[in-house]
């Protein structure tokens, strides 16, 4: 039998000689389940249905742990599958709920005895409690929050520099063995108590014991997992994030592995930050000391007599950028080339272009650090570092007063927060959605039949404040088409589009938490209309580097000079 919730009495099932296995499928897609259940219920529920429809064999046992799972159970039952649903009380702190769950357990024994024509074996029940888990001593990273699929957990483990504890809702099942008794009713009362006394999942009424998960001196960082359309855990994440000293990273998946690359980037940056916090912090101050504020890049790039050079390459979805610096951290040269089909070739091309401008040769470059989505595919790199860390390095180098970086690239956008030493304290990225990215502006420009340059200047000449309310870029495009049809001025529509981008990104970064000074990087920073929209939203001036595209590559070059 397969089970979905940690409150499932799997030891009771063992008493019937049944082995319970966690139902935790990674979905490839939701083609089959979409025919039976709405896509706006929790993705885990959909993944259960998807798996069961593809490969249905053993019965499953669910609890009424949440609305989505209850409905998934309903759907599977109507499809003729063997499903048991146990009523799980919300109260974990009173005797009435323990009594209610005891009755539920007794009912289950009764049902299983009849269905299997077998007696409940108390000895097997007791024996099944000896499930020795893997103990971790010393510093570790905790995965908390909603259930996590095993592929994602493996990814987290494989990338982590420290051991990883699975403290998600199904990861921390630990039921104490009840005292010996032959009276089944009494035994089930004790067992019910033991089940409900576990470290609670968030839907229980008393969650104070969850404190045990965070009050541990060996805890070094938390990866907080949420599942799309599961609402339970997100708020705990927000509370933990503001209350804890250890870094916390939130990841959200739809129970597929489609966002693996983006999650890898996030994990990479998180782990880098976690280590930097402990080890590298003191050196950062000397590294950046004495840099001035808001200066043009060219002022920083006098040719010097230095013979040691470093390169940074940022392979983005739209452009690949290269920056060369010398050992005094002067920018010697940079280049921006469009990203082609082959990432490595584009990287080589960008570096060649930057070298060509200076008369240097590839052999003159001491070290190269790669960043961006294609960073791992660049063979000549000494190291690869995520663009989050690189943007932070680059932006802080350009202006050490910067505390918030707004980076809007072709296909993703990020808000990165820095502390006074230039360390990343926090970052957020957009999800798999084009809204609030460069691609969004391109789509809108297409609808308005404007060039990107026109999009930039039109946004400054508006009269009427039009709101583009759709959060989805596809719907926003049709909204824009209707605005054109209703004879609205192009300038006003462009302004509305700019505001919608600013709103989306500011919301992403949580307005209250964004501190001055702001810097905007990425190609979209060239669009003055968008920059103004952000300035209005944030009620603050935004620094725009002369070459906003190369901030990540600059950071990579600076890191190259450090290793």
């Amino acid at each position: 039998m397969k089970y979905a919730c940690k409150y499932t009495p799997i030891e009771l099932l063992a008493g019937f000689g049944m082995k319970a296995e966690l139902l935790n499928p990674t979905a490839e897609n939701y083609e089959l389940s979409d025919q039976y259940i709405h896509s706006n219920v929790c993705s885990y529920s959909r993944s259960i249905i998807e798996e069961r429809l593809r490969d249905c064999c053993v019965p499953i046992i669910l609890t009424s742990c949440c609305d989505s799972i209850e409905r998934a159970g309903d759907v599977l039952k109507t499809l003729g599958q063997e499903v048991y649903i146990l009523n799980l009380p919300h109260h974990n702190d009173n005797c009435c709920s323990k009594l209610l769950y005891q009755k539920e357990l007794l009912k289950l024994i009764d049902e299983l005895s009849k269905a299997l024509n077998r007696e409940f074996d108390v000895e097997k029940f007791y024996d099944s409690f000896d499930y020795g888990g893997e103990e971790i001593s010393g510093p570790y990273v905790s995965v908390m929050g909603a259930r996590i699929n095993s592929d994602l957990l493996e990814l987290i483990k494989s990338e982590s520099p420290l051991p990883v504890k699975n403290n998600t809702c199904t990861g921390i099942r630990s039921v104490e063995k009840p005292p010996q008794t032959d009276d089944i009713e009494e035994l089930m009362a004790l067992y019910s108590d033991a089940l409900l006394s576990q470290i609670p999942c968030i839907r229980m009424s008393d969650i104070s014991k969850r404190r045990d998960l965070i009050e541990d001196p060996n805890l070094r960082g938390i990866i907080y997992n949420t599942v799309n359309f599961c609402d339970f855990y997100t708020f705990e994440y927000s509370k933990l994030k503001s209350a804890l000293d250890v870094p916390v990273l939130k990841i959200e998946t739809d129970y597929t592995m489609l966002a693996t690359e983006q999650i890898k980037t996030r994990l990479g940056a998180f782990y880098e930050n976690m280590i930097t916090k402990k080890i590298k912090t003191p050196t950062c101050q000397t590294y950046y000391a004495g840099t001035d504020t808001r200066v043009a890049l060219n002022d920083r790039s006098p040719m010097t007599s230095s013979h040691i050079y470093y390169a940074g390459i940022d392979t983005g979805s739209t452009s690949t950028n290269a920056v060369i610096i010398d050992d005094k951290k002067n920018i010697i040269s940079f280049a921006i080339v469009p990203t082609g089909v082959k990432v490595a070739e584009s990287a080589q091309k960008a570096l060649d272009e930057a070298l060509r401008k200076t008369g240097l040769e590839i052999g003159d470059i001491s070290k190269t650090v790669a960043t961006g989505y294609g960073r791992a595919r660049i063979d000549f790199r000494a190291e690869d570092v995520t663009e989050i860390t690189c943007h932070a390095k680059g932006a802080y180098f350009l202006n050490p007063k910067v505390r918030t970086i707004i980076d809007i690239g072709g296909q993703d956008s990020k808000v990165i927060r820095l502390d006074e030493k230039g360390n990343v304290t926090d970052f957020v990225m957009n999800d798999k959605c084009a809204a609030g990215t460069g691609r969004f502006i391109e789509m809108m420009a297409q609808s308005l039949q404007l060039s990107l340059e026109e999009m930039s200047s039109y946004g400054l000449k508006w009269d009427e404040d039009i709101a583009i309310s759709s959060m989805c870029s596809v719907f926003a495009q049709s909204e824009v088409v209707s605005l054109i049809a209703s004879d609205k001025k192009l300038e006003d529509i462009v302004h509305g589009i700019n505001n919608s981008i600013a709103s989306k990104i500011v919301a992403l970064g949580r307005r209250g938490k964004l501190e001055r000074e702001f810097i905007m990087t990425g190609g979209v920073a060239r669009n003055i209309g968008v920059v103004r929209a952000f300035e209005d939203k944030l009620d603050a001036e935004i620094i725009v580097p002369e070459e906003p595209d190369i901030c990540g590559a600059l950071g990579a070059a600076l890191i190259a000079s450090e290793i």
Partner: protein, 425 residues
Amino acid sequence: MSQIIKKFGQIVGSNMEKHPKRSLNLLRFGYAYSGLQMKYFPEKYLLPNQVYSSVVCNRLIRYPLSNPENSAVVNIFFPCELLHAAGIRPEFVEGFAGYLNGACCERYFIDYIENVGMPKTLCSYHKALLGAAFSNVLPKPKFIMFTTMICDANIITFRALADFWKIPLFTVDIPGNSSNDAEAISYVEEQLKQAVTFIEENTNKKFDYKKLKEVIRRENRSTMLYKEYLKELSSKDIPNDVTSEMYKLFFTHILNGSEEAEKYFEMLLDDAKKIEEANGRIRILWCHTLPYWQKSMKEIFNNSEKYQLLCSDMNFDAIMELDEDKPLRSLAAKLLNNHGLGSAERRAGKLLHMAKYLNADGVIYFNHWGCKKTLGGSGITKKILEENGIPVLVLDGDGCDRENVNDGQMTTRLQAFLEILEKRK
């Protein structure tokens, strides 16, 4: 939507963060004004019961804004009979959030709470209320009481509110799949006893069971009137509109047992009796809450000569006579009897029964954003009803957040469905 209300909403929203008191005063003023308008200048097509309901609901929503110390925040399924007996006024999520929408400011509050860290995928009614509380616009009530039934958002919202306001919270856990189970009734009854103690402790007053008996008697009289009304509705076309149907929820749930509710059900039946037999309108049974704020929906259903909006299923989710001698036990049984609890088949079964009883031509199943139980049950319900000859339109929308809706697409789907029903008739 009138430009003036839109502007009003903008001013409420723009003051929310820096001057929450100002936003609150604006809302108080705006609602007082709309209350007078409803009372003295109602829409001409409204029946007397509909005018009355709008005025009473307006009063209910306004009360906690000025008298928070005598109010308790609850969910729509909380047995407010206990509060009526204790003289505490309830303030419920869907009602207040709906009113924020009425003032065109719901999005500001939803934005606010999403920025605080609440998930976007949470029910919009809950997000709007949370935003109003966390932005300090909504004054802190005396305490919070809720039931866990039907909607997981309750657990998230009320825990967060109690934590934010630092006020007492009481949870009544309602098991999902055990309506006729004596164990479950006892479990809920025991909690209702504790709820009474909680009210006593927090009001410093002895709970008056005599008053509860009066409340239960009034509720039983109301139930009889309502059953009679539904019988009238089964053979008549009784004018209805999307807003009045939402207001009906106040009386079938939050206000049930109060004097206002009894008067409402009297008027409802009176108005129905004055109407002659059906004249061939397309009869629509609604499932779940209604997007009463959507202009396109109002244009289709309000004061319509073509379509009869019969009833929302939430307005007959737990019609049950209570035992005045066992008030808490019968309230527990009523809670467990709600067709929204348990499997999707249970709700579909009740819908099917009422669709037949009310001679409905079709059912509109409204998938309100964030309501996982409703969303998750839509496929099963459609299948069951259609196998029994009742056409169903599953309509995705949002009962509270006007920016979360693709109005054009919704209208097209709705109209196409109505065209199909017309052809069938």
